[in-house]
Amino acid sequence: MGLRELLPGRRPRPGPGTPLADLAAASAVDPATPLDQVRLLALDLETTGLDPRRHEVLSVGHVPVAQGRILLAHARHELVRPQGPVGESAVHHGLTDDRLAHVPDLAQVLPRVLEALRTGSAQDGEDARPVRRVLLAHFAQIETDFLAAACRRLYGTDVPLQVVDTLTLAQRMLRVPTPELASGRLRLDACRRHYRLPRYRAHSALTDALACAELFLAQSAELAEQYGRPLRLADVLTR
């Protein structure tokens, strides 16, 4: 198993008893695992900008995916109170300072997100250690960077996550060179149109997480057909 991220010394261990420590203690998923046995968590963040050093998280939406199904019962959406004003970014996400004035701050919300990334014990029972969910996002760098920055600030360290990025998958499947990124062909909406998935009118962190999860189901179905065999996690894993 690729556990290089847990090698001692490279990075300080998270303080025991914290949600981050629990997540760190959970096993990473073996990339050889059949994809339908992997649990994923589709996650989306709305932020005030793209730079985790300067910008803040305003809302978090996530919904688990397991055995080829999106589990709406466990879908969560949380607003996050920023330290500074939302500024111009309100144009994109519609979240105003007033709307966010009395919601929990990131220190309260982050533990719940980390908890969602850690499932219960492994299903088979052989390995009783908790297993992590694989993070599923479209252009996942935003989510991983902001989560890592938040963890470092709150716990002094972070835990790299296994990631499936639907944008990377789309790039690979459509054979689009990277410069095309900016042209919008690979934006979430555009990718969904490619699979004729329904259009979502409103945007919120949860809607986008759900949209990303649906896109992933469509992509993995197509990929399995191309390969002519059931997929393994390694087939879709970005890192």
Binding site: G61, G68, R69, I70, L71, L72, A73, A75, H77, Y195, R196, L197, P198, Y200, R201, A202, S204, L206, T207, L210, A213, E214, L217, A218, A221, E222, E225
Partner: protein
């Protein structure tokens, strides 16, 4: 919780039956669901699968097939997987993704809870499910049409969801208790899922009580082992033959070794009661108007039965005409009995849809009297008789014609010579209003009395009308105004105001085809009455291309069939049958066919208008 799965919620809110749910119920529904994805060609459900969820198509499309035959095509907002939910049996049909499809799944337990609290949800999916079964059965049907026992399969007769059964080791007393509790007269004896015997009330009497067998003996000792069974596709006729031939009253129905239910003699009797032949015979036996009215009340049920058997609209139209004729004839005879013999030779003639044998359940009365040339139209006997018959028909559920086209109007009680000059005036009449009225008189059929009077009259006036360019032009202009509703909402235009808001007036499409057939028949000089026969006559006369004749005939059949099914459903629900269909209640396949039918009508109208002489 905040309505965070708003997109899913809004999707549900757009589609029946969820659109009728209270907002708070709707808000909670998305969180009960899971989402899955089926690539084109993926089989989502196989027949025999034990489904445990309702599938709703979120995007894409799914084909429902029965042994390769398409039963339904489900688009966004449609559902499947109802066998498990509604009937608690394994899937009947295969469900295959026709396009890449996103599915919303509601687990059985959540569906049950929802359906328990909101029965409309259960009713909606049960109706969809029933519609699919009907469609599937239609695929299996032979084209031959006969009495109900020839057309109905025993599967159609099954009512209770699960037959009552016990193990062979159960005691006779236990068996009797089970039967009493379930209110049934027979008990299946099952061992390891297979049928090993049957016990009936009669067996308990003869083999237990009369034989002095103690009630603690096992059922296996008194049952009829290896009972006669029927496959689900057997016809009711076969069931009848088995029962009378073997003197038994209960027949288990099996499919793939599985018992589906029981058919009893009661089921067969009920089936035969709605046979039109019996109704006609019963009508003829009545000695007063009240008796005729009472028998006529059975007619909607007869139509309902025929619709359930998936008889064609053309067949149902003929049966309905035969029944209406029988009622009319009996009313005329009763009037003659009361008023004394008629003061001359005459014919009671049906007009319009009854004459064409194309009526639906919402048709009103249209009729006339054709008197022999030596009869006196001024004799009060005619008016008295016409009033009695008209009132009788009204009591039988056929409303009076709002336009007054009935034998009660002295203008429509004429001698043959009078009718001849009337038709001649219509041929030369410049006023379109008069021609509007005329159309219906070209559909005239003798129901009672001297049929030759009508036949003779028509053989003269039909060719006359066919030679009148003015009449044809007026009729064509009138037909062009009967715009089939096609174009906006999912390809169909709905009434946008009034009591029939958001419905589709099927009569407009039907009337347009009927009128075109009438015009074509006149031009061909044909005295045919039925629209199908008229289109065929026009085709043979080389006036109408073969494809157009076939398309119009098919369009008329489909529109009439949908109207009948709609009317039968309204009657079954205790409502007044009408012509206003809610397209949202149609399956996607029906909707597509309906759109095609309207498109056929529209293009035929355009063709007719461009070829016919024009009026200003």
């Amino acid at each position: 919780m905040d309505v965070e799965l708003a997109e899913i919620r809004d999707f549900l809110a757009e589609h029946p039956p969820f659109d009728a749910l209270p907002a708070d119920v709707l808000d909670r529904l998305p969180a009960r669901c899971t989402v899955s994805y089926a690539r084109r060609g993926t089989v989502v459900l196989r027949p025999g699968d034990h489904g445990d969820r309702l599938y709703l198509v979120r995007s894409g499309a799914v084909d429902i097939t029965d042994e390769g035959h398409l039963v339904d095509r489900v688009g966004a907002g449609g559902g499947f997987g109802m066998s498990a939910l509604v009937e608690h049996v394994p899937a009947r049909y295969a469900a295959t993704a026709r396009e890449d499809t996103l599915l919303l799944e509601l687990p059985q337990a959540d569906f049950d809870a929802l359906a328990a609290e909101h029965p409309a949800v259960a009713v909606h999916f049960a109706a969809t499910h029933h519609g699919r079964i009907t469609a599937a059965i239609a695929q299996l049907q032979t084209p031959a049409r006969g009495s109900a026992v020839l057309k109905t399969s025993v599967r159609d007769l099954l009512r209770a969801p699960q037959p009552v059964s016990v193990a062979p080791s159960a005691t006779v007393a236990e068996g009797a208790r089970v039967m009493t509790a379930a209110g049934v007269s027979s008990l299946l004896v099952m061992e390891g899922g297979s049928l090993v015997g049957i016990v009936t009330d009669r067996d308990l009497r003869r083999r237990v009580l009369a034989a002095g067998v103690p009630p603690d003996r096992p059922v296996g000792e008194v049952m009829t082992p290896d009972p006669v069974t029927l496959p689900a596709r057997a016809l009711a006729l076969e069931a009848m033959l088995e029962m009378t031939g073997r003197n038994i009253h209960h027949l288990p129905v099996v499919e793939d070794g599985r018992v589906l239910g029981l058919v009893t003699t009661t089921d067969l009797v009920r089936l035969e009661r709605s046979n039109p032949v019996y109704v006609v015979a019963d009508v003829q036996r009545q000695e007063d108007v009240a008796g005729v009215v009472e028998q006529a009340a059975r007619i909607p049920a007869v139509v309902g039965q025929l619709v359930r058997e998936d008889a064609s609209a053309a067949d149902v139209g003929r049966v309905l005409a035969a029944l209406t004729d029988a009622v009319t004839r009996r009313l005329v005879v009763l009037a003659e009995t009361q008023l004394g013999p008629a003061p001359g030779r005459y014919a009671w003639a049906a007009l319009g849809s009854v004459a064409r044998e194309e009526q639906g359940l919402a048709s009103d009365q249209d009729h006339a009297l054709v008197l022999a040339d030596d009869a006196d139209p001024a004799d009060p006997w005619w008016a008295a008789m016409a009033e009695r018959v008209t009132a009788g028909l009204e009591a039988c559920g056929l409303p009076r014609c709002p336009g007054g086209t009935m034998a009660t109007d002295p203008r429509w009680r004429q001698r043959v010579s009078g009718w001849r000059s009337q038709f001649a005036r219509w041929g030369e009449e410049p006023a379109p209003e008069a021609v509007l009225r005329a159309a219906i008189f070209y559909d005239m059929r003798a129901v009672h009395g001297d049929a030759d009077l009508v036949v003779g009259l028509r053989s003269e006036v039909v060719p006359l009308g066919g030679r009148s360019d003015l009449l044809l032009a007026h009729l064509t202009a009138q037909s062009a105004r009967m715009r089939p509703p096609i174009g906006f909402f999912r390809g169909l235009v709905l009434e946008d105001a009034g009591e029939h808001r958001d419905t589709l007036d099927l009569k407009r499409g039907i009337a347009a085809v009927v009128q075109m057939a009438r015009i074509h028949a006149l031009r061909a000089g044909s005295t045919a009455l039925g629209s199908g026969a008229r289109l065929a006559a026009a085709r043979e006369a080389g006036i109408l291309p073969k494809e157009s004749a076939t398309d119009l005939t098919d369009a008329l059949e489909l529109l009439s069939y949908l109207r009948l099914r709609h009317q039968a459903a309204r009657v079954a629900a205790g409502e007044v049958p009408d012509n206003h269909l809610d397209p949202r209640r149609l399956g996607s396949l029906d909707r597509r066919h309906l759109r095609d039918a309207f498109a056929v009508v529209r293009s035929a109208q355009q063709g007719l208008s461009s070829r016919s002489p024009q009026v200003g």
